[in-house]
């Protein structure tokens, strides 16, 4: 996924240029390409389908209105992913600020995670096995320490490359690699013989 996004970089730059010259319709291709990973991110963080939709829309709107600040050296996907991530963070902070009740922390429970079995298996039994494996995987990810959980989700569920994760987290790529290696080792240990 990350590789194909790298190949798309040139296309993204052309789209940005077209939008800035008044071709609004070319932005539709950007939405089509990136709505799924952005929705995935927002839903995973907020656990609310309507709010996730709202956040993705806001992310695209903010990106569109900020296109004049987009630099050629940026990766468009990383840029809009960071914008969306920051909107999610703001919403979560406001939830904490305005709620009298304890809000479920990001990633603290695996059972509320939105899972949908891919329609690939030929039988119901196959689908059931896939579903069980998904539940075990999400439970294992949810049990990881918070800093590892975030990188593993971004890497394996959203398909960001090490470089993209480093840009999104504003951390050196070496730090990101170390975190992902540790997280992966923990995950493998937790799931060995269980999938």
């Amino acid at each position: 996924m990350a590789e194909s996004r790298a190949e798309d970089r040139q296309e993204d730059l052309l789209i940005v240029q077209a939008c800035l010259q008044g071709d609004k319709n070319s932005f539709e291709r950007i939405i089509e390409k990136y709505q799924a990973p952005l929705y995935n991110l927002a839903y995973r963080m907020l656990r609310d389908q309507d709010e996730a939709l709202d956040i993705v829309q806001e992310g695209f709107m903010r990106a569109y209105k900020s296109l004049d600040g987009f630099k050629v050296e940026y990766n468009f996907f990383t840029w809009i992913y960071t914008i969306t991530l920051n909107i999610c963070r703001n919403r979560l902070r406001r939830r904490k600020l305005f709620s009298f009740f304890s809000i479920q922390e990001y990633g603290s429970s695996e059972d509320s995670y939105f899972l949908q079995v891919a329609d690939k298996g030929p039988s119901a039994l196959d689908s059931l096995i896939v579903g069980l494996n998904q539940s075990k995987l999400m439970a294992a990810i949810a049990s990881l320490p918070q800093k590892y959980r975030f990188v593993i989700e971004v890497r394996f569920l959203d398909g960001l490359s090490y470089m993209e994760i480093a840009q999104v987290m504003d951390k050196p790529i070496g730090t990101v690699k170390t975190q992902i290696h540790r997280a992966r080792q923990m995950l493998i240990k937790k799931l060995e013989g269980k999938l």
Binding site: T82, Q134, Q146, R184
Partner: protein, 214 residues
């Protein structure tokens, strides 16, 4: 054993073809590596099977985009873009003007109450100088810096730092007494911990909030 240490690189797909072939051959002899690699492949396959049913948002978003491109925060362009917005701005201005007039001419009790409240707020707030040295951050080019925290509802558009002589970014602003969490936002999208903060706290998203104890 020496081949075992190549496992992470193998899983990262960062070995050369020859090194990868050697590692694959090693899997036949090392049950530990073989189990880890097999589990890893199952994990990636399971991740790939998790389909997010993202709704098609193109139509809604495209309809909401302005017909012509207007740069962000351009007050006049947004004002001209929509008659509704113009109406909202006009009404807000009218309400503020009316309220201002009421405060100036209202009863003494009300004015005194406002004054005492202002004094109390001033007494409980301390002027804080936020500073960011751009050489301490990994962002190659810093265009804007904002301070965001629980004291401004984590808004990245309210308190912008300014830069003097291409050196420090700084802002002086009153902050109420107490313990606050904050971060700097660079270029409107990169959130960083204050490199000079003496105390930090996990923010729950893999980063750390800086702590301001007043």
């Amino acid at each position: 054993m020496s081949v075992c240490i190549k496992k992470e690189q193998y899983l990262d797909d960062s070995l050369t073809a020859t090194e990868a072939a050697v590692f694959k051959a090693h899997l036949a002899d090392c049950a530990e590596c073989a189990a880890a690699v097999s589990t890893y492949h199952k994990i990636t396959a399971t991740c790939a099977s998790i389909v997010v049913a993202a709704p098609h948002l193109q139509a809604d978003i495209m309809a909401a985009l302005p017909d012509n491109y207007y740069p962000r925060f351009s007050f006049w362009s947004q004002l001209l873009a929509s008659p509704k917005t113009t109406m909202v701005y006009a009404l807000t201005t009218l309400m503020l003007a009316t309220f201002g007039q009421f405060v100036r001419t209202g009863s003494n009790i009300f004015t005194q109450h406002l004054a005492s409240k202002d004094n109390a707020t001033e007494a409980s707030a301390i002027e804080v100088s936020f500073q960011l040295d751009p050489t301490l951050v990994t962002v190659p080019q810093v265009y804007t810096v904002a301070v965001v925290g629980d004291f401004n509802n984590w808004s990245s558009s309210e308190n912008l730092l300014s830069q003097k002589d291409d050196k420090l970014w700084s802002l002086k602003m009153p902050v109420s007494r107490g313990i606050h969490e904050y971060m700097f936002v660079i270029n409107d999208n990169i959130w960083i911990t204050d490199p000079a903060a003496k105390q930090t706290k996990d923010d729950g998203f893999g980063s750390k909030n800086s702590i301001l104890d007043l």
